[in-house]
Symmetry: C2
Subunit: 418 residues, 2 copies
């Protein structure tokens, strides 16, 4: 595969999300050759993906070419391709045409959404993991209003203007709030036959409360804030069917023209590649130094892994810290030094936004909600965007939307290939 | 179709490009009901579409929802759908489920690219007319470099790094310049195995010179400026075959991994709808008041029409002026006033950009080229963008690219549905 001679230790990193990129950056000055592999050509700022799906931001505002991010790092090459397996005996990763050899392997392949064994729901209830998912959901949402405007019967119109979001974690909460604001504010006066403000937005969570990872008080606030935005929150009932007509919760049938799936994470096939047994969500169990049992030269980080002793939340700060940690560990081991200390997660807090001037933050013993939390949420997300250009543009988009209630990317695209 | 009672004269406008939108806006205060129909939900600023195809701008930066543009105009409704025909006897337009009745009809459906009878070339030589075309070409261009980086043989690599653009009009010239700058500047240092600066960019024109609508002196300058950017300009030979391996010009075969089609316009099916004979490009011949012979209540404008006496160029200013003109004419005729004077095009000049600090402008007897023309071109395009938000964002993108030679939207999307 490579046309260059390689004699230094080979580090292969699969996945250029928060974890994989942090690992690569952490090894920038190390005496190794790094191969960073991803299916996509871009690193994605996933925390804002829901804003692409709801027409607030453009894809390029939250994504950046991976090879551009590591262009200065001469010990790193980037390959765009799909990994199909790992051979720990030969120490190679299987990639498209051929194998890529490693001395050290970092798996940071992330998660995708799972349908609890009902993959047939995927066509009518798409999830949100990459940019194509986001522009696809955007197309469905905006087309629902276009079709309702031309609907021949009130029943059809009502079904088209019902949007159900499944899953009450951060993604579901953020989607529900953003969809409600899209309908009630940005689209409110753009139609003649329908009133988009009458759109029915449902958020369905099988568990007893929203945002289960957060303190209970913030869950209650979130439900109230969504209620004020006109979102119907339904707790404690699992979805039993999804199709083009709507959703079933046991006996109850809800007619809905658009369903968005934000429940059930399912890890990438890393566990299968390694021949280890994953946890219920398919994640790879790892020890305190992020290695799965029986694999001395393989690290698994971010959402792909589950720490046996002390599970960490599936967030960007965890992935980043784990990426930086394995970079340090690999450098230490190459240098023949002592065994490094175990990975310890330094809490960076949990954030979720609900809508205009409403967000929740849980940081150690501090709980914040409402307006201040919302401004902090916005500042943190701008700060963590990948470069200055994106910061300026996202700030412009947000400021504009804040002032005039418009959305910057109300485009229906991909119709021809639907 | 409509659930509202309508008693005022019904004006139906098909197509919300520069012409159709100008017609709708011109009738904002007229005592009529307007139905504006488009296949897309957005008005597109087509002059900058090539920048989306070459990763400089994002789709939402040059497109805006049609219904948002006319939201204040209470006499106008917008329908998103595909018109399949016109019945001039019943005075209806056929749209999806049902007919839409008109008293006055404006056809502003634009052009698409034609393959001179070789529609089988379309799959390997895509053209550039809408946002999906642009993101599709962007995917092909960026994937060519990704595949070249992993290519197993120098021959394959050379073919992948050959990009042929067919057609030497403004779109072809702008694409060729932008592709050359993408390869030689923005991508230059992002790869390890290949040198993107060695990319071969060809611009193929069957006629004797580039930009045939411009003065000859500017055509010569354009060829020289492209040569300086490293574009091989080939004149006087028509393409005789396109496929996945490349292009043939008679006996000569050029291996090319990417082909972009910027030749041969083909008008929309408006001529067929009206039962009139189109010109060679399929455009509808119209008289001095923009009506086709035998149709008193139908106007055809923009690229869809060809003025019999005095053909005008296929540009945005022509379409805009014709849209404004038919709005005035319809209002006059409804008021029962005298016949309006014929349409006269007020020359707004011709502009084309070649690359950084190189553009050409022909305005009446003035010819401009080089740096000044480039700055004027940029200012004019920012000015004509549809609103302040887009102006701010496009200016930010351009300023950034100008300073650091980066491109703001280097995303490969739509892979899953390829």
């Amino acid at each position: 595969m490579s046309r260059t001679e390689r004699t230094r230790p080979q580090v292969v990193i699969v996945g250029a999300g928060f974890g994989g990129l942090a690992a690569a950056k952490g090894l920038a000055a190390a005496p190794v050759d790094i191969t960073l592999i991803d299916r996509q050509n871009h690193h994605l700022f996933q925390p804002l993906l829901y804003q692409v799906a709801t027409a607030g931001l453009s894809p390029a505002e939250i994504a950046w070419p991976i090879r551009h991010l590591v262009r200065q790092q001469r010990n790193t090459r980037v390959l765009m391709g799909e990994v199909t397996g790992v051979d720990p005996v030969r120490k190679v990763v299987m990639l498209g045409d051929g194998p890529v050899a490693y001395d050290w392997l970092v798996l940071a392949t992330g998660v995708t959404h799972g349908y609890f064994g009902h993959d047939e729901w995927a066509a009518d209830a798409p999830g949100l993991k990459d940019l194509d998912d986001a522009t696809g959901i955007r197309r469905r949402l905006l087309l629902a209003f276009e079709r309702a405007e031309m609907a021949s019967s009130p029943d059809l119109c009502a079904r088209l203007l019902t949007i159900a979001i499944v899953g009450g974690g951060p993604t579901g909460v953020e989607m529900a709030g953003a969809v409600a604001e899209l309908a009630r504010r940005a689209l409110a006066r753009d139609f003649r036959e329908i009133d988009p403000r009458k759109t029915r937005v449902l958020l369905l969570e099988a568990g007893p409360r929203l945002l289960p990872g957060f303190p209970e008080q913030l869950s209650r606030y979130t439900a109230q804030a969504l209620d004020r935005l006109g979102v119907e929150v339904r707790l404690g009932k699992a979805v039993t069917r999804c199709n083009a007509d709507g959703i079933a919760l046991g006996d109850e049938v809800i007619e809905a023209g658009t369903i968005i799936w934000a429940a059930g994470v399912k890890a990438s096939p890393a566990a299968r590649w390694l021949g280890v047994t994953g946890d219920r969500a398919g994640r790879v169990p790892v020890g305190p130094d992020l290695r799965p049992r029986g694999h001395d030269d393989i690290y698994v980080i971010g959402d792909t892994a589950v720490l046996l002793d002390k599970p960490a939340p599936g967030t960007a700060p965890v992935a980043k810290q784990q990426g930086a940690y394995v970079a340090r560990v690999i450098e230490t081991r190459i240098g023949g030094k002592d065994e490094p200390p175990p990975f310890i997660y330094r809490d960076r807090g949990l954030l979720a936004t609900i809508g205009r001037k409403a967000a929740v933050i849980a940081y150690k013993r501090i709980q914040l909600k409402g307006r201040l939390a919302w401004w902090l949420w916005g500042a943190a997300h701008i700060y963590f965007l990948v470069n200055l250009r994106n910061r300026v543009i996202v700030m412009t988009q947000w400021l504009w939307s804040y002032l005039v209630f418009e959305r910057g990317a109300r485009l229906i695209t991909g119709l021809k290939r639907q």
